[in-house]
């Protein structure tokens, strides 16, 4: 029996798609993390010319599904893996999947730069997004309707805001959704009564809102996010089928090294270490 197993295993490994090729690491998943992943890959390949790292986007769900059917080594995800996804991976690969938090992202609310409002409490934000507050006047701004934007309902950012800001309640029907942080930023910069949220972004025409807690207004700055003072920070994850070895381990170690974490800061996210 044992003598049969070895060749079978060899055949099985050979039959695995490109993911198992020596010297290639494939990474797939969250669109939020694609740029970060690519920058890591470039820097890593400069240091290790023999290893190829391929990074593609498509969404957290796509990355996790690819991890399941063996077409990627690492799945990038901006949300925690759902129980159903973890169960499937465990059933298929006999070991529980491995989660590594590789960067932090502060979810920021933006308004148009001409908006006099500069800080809101999480409670006010919640009331706006569930539809109880509909004009800027109610939160100390101009007498105009709030045009609130959200992300599409399966993005990690959306789920995070829904859990952390809305306490799991539903967004109001009038809330408009847009694909991707870039689209939200563009829409907010175009419309003076708008409000939107997304990852930390630096763009013309928008202003980042501070979060009010008691008498304090907390800006989504690197220090506040690292120290955990800013209430709306989330982790960005790498998911693996099993404990990493070889090239994959080398890549993840690089991402978590001081050099890798410096790249995180350059891209506009926040280091975990």
């Amino acid at each position: 029996m044992k003598s049969l197993l070895k060749p079978l295993l060899a055949v099985f490994l050979l039959a695995l798609p490109a993911a198992a090729q020596a010297g290639t690491v494939t990474i797939k998943g969250s669109d939020t993390m694609v740029i970060l992943g690519q920058r890591w890959a470039e820097a890593f390949m400069k240091k290790n010319p023999t290893i190829k790292v391929q990074v593609t986007g498509g969404g957290s769900g796509v990355g996790l599904a690819a991890l399941q059917n063996g077409t990627t080594d690492i799945a990038m995800s901006s949300r925690e893996m759902k129980k159903a996804e973890a169960d499937k991976l465990r059933a298929r690969f006999k070991v529980p999947p491995v989660q590594r938090s590789v960067a932090k992202d502060g979810v920021t609310f933006y308004v148009h730069q001409g908006n006099p409002v500069s800080a809101l409490t999480t409670e006010q934000l919640m009331k706006i997004y569930v539809g109880d507050i509909t004009t800027w006047k109610q939160v100390g701004g101009a007498d105009a309707p709030i045009v609130a934007y959200s992300r599409e309902n399966s993005s990690g950012t959306y789920v995070f805001v829904k859990d952390m800001v809305l306490d799991g309640e539903d967004f109001a029907p009038a809330i408009q959704t847009l694909p991707g942080t870039a689209a939200v930023v563009n829409a907010v910069s175009k419309e003076k009564n708008s409000l939107g949220y997304g990852g930390a972004a630096y763009a013309e025409g928008i202003k980042e809102l501070k979060v009010k807690k008691g008498n304090e207004e907390i800006a989504p700055s690197a220090d506040n996010i690292k120290s955990g003072k800013y209430p709306l920070a989330r982790d960005l994850f790498f998911y693996l089928r099993a404990e990493p070895t070889g090239d994959i381990k080398a890549f993840i170690d690089f991402a978590l090294s001081p050099e890798g974490q410096a790249i995180v800061t350059q891209v506009g996210y926040f280091p975990v270490k």
């Binding site: 669109d31 498509g58 969404g59 957290s60 769900g61 796509v62 996790l64 599904a65 399941q68 949300r79 759902k82 159903a84 996804e85 499937k88 309707p145 045009v147 599409e152 309902n153 399966s154 993005s155 990690g156 959306y158 789920v159 829904k162 799991g168 539903d170 967004f171 029907p173 009038a174 809330i175 408009q176 959704t177 847009l178 694909p179 689209a183 563009n186 829409a187 175009k190 419309e191 009564n193 708008s194």
Partner: protein, 326 residues
Amino acid sequence: MEQGLTRVVAAPRLSAAARRRQLREKAVAGFITLMAFTGIAALILIIVFVAKEALTLFTDADARHEASFSKMFLPQEGRYPFRWQPVSDTPKVSMIPLFVGTLKITLVSMLVAVPMGVFSALFVAEFAPRRLRELLKPVIELLAGIPSVVLGFFALMVLSPMVKDLFHLDRPLNGTLAGLALALAIVPVIFTVSEDALTAVPRSYREASLALGATLWETAWKVVLPAAAPGILAACVLGFGRAIGETMIVLMASGNADIVSWNLGDSARSLSATIAAEMGEVVVGSPHYSLLFFIGVELFIFTFVLNMVASTWTKKVLQRLTGSAS
């Protein structure tokens, strides 16, 4: 029976060249048949795959509970009767806001694109001097070459403030804007097919009409246009199908809020944009995932029924025009 009749009749002797030609003919015919069947096979496989993913909704107990037909189509308890919030502790999966949004946006785009497409085709086919025609035709057909992502971004960045100010709306992204941007995408479709139908009308019709003393305008309006009616109908159906299925433009310009409202100043969420927005992040194999495929099946059925209705309608129009009951 005479024995002579059972003698085998020898086949006519073919030269080598002729035999080669015959072989080539056969090979080419086989190749073309294969291509045709490949297309059909691909279509069937797509339908099978999409339907299979959607079927989980009915076979899986979890999914049946989370997304039953009553939850999809009937008003629910709670603050809002119709909600599309599939990612939630209690998923709400009403299709009604998606239907309303899709129809709203499609109708706006058709109201703009049909007159634009048909009349520009009429102008180019009947009135335009030759020089102008040779300029206009490629320009309008170039519109079709613009990727819809570009049109969508154009709508989001450039058109949205204009439309908002023009109609005095609260929200920059709304059904009207999406409809207008969508019209840009389907005008070339309608124009191209209509123009072909108009130029295919026989010259003798025009000459007869002019000989009876009709003006150019009367000829175009009362003779050529009715004669080309089936083709123009087909153009409109094609445009409609494209409008229902168009994704990127609607995703970027409509605001995608799941409201049930026929107000054109309100945002709208369409079926196809919903698939595009959610497919990337959804948990594969979950009820939500099956729901997205189910939406795909719905879209497929829509277009299919639409084409059926259109083709029978075209037949009727043809009958009326030719006056024969063929």
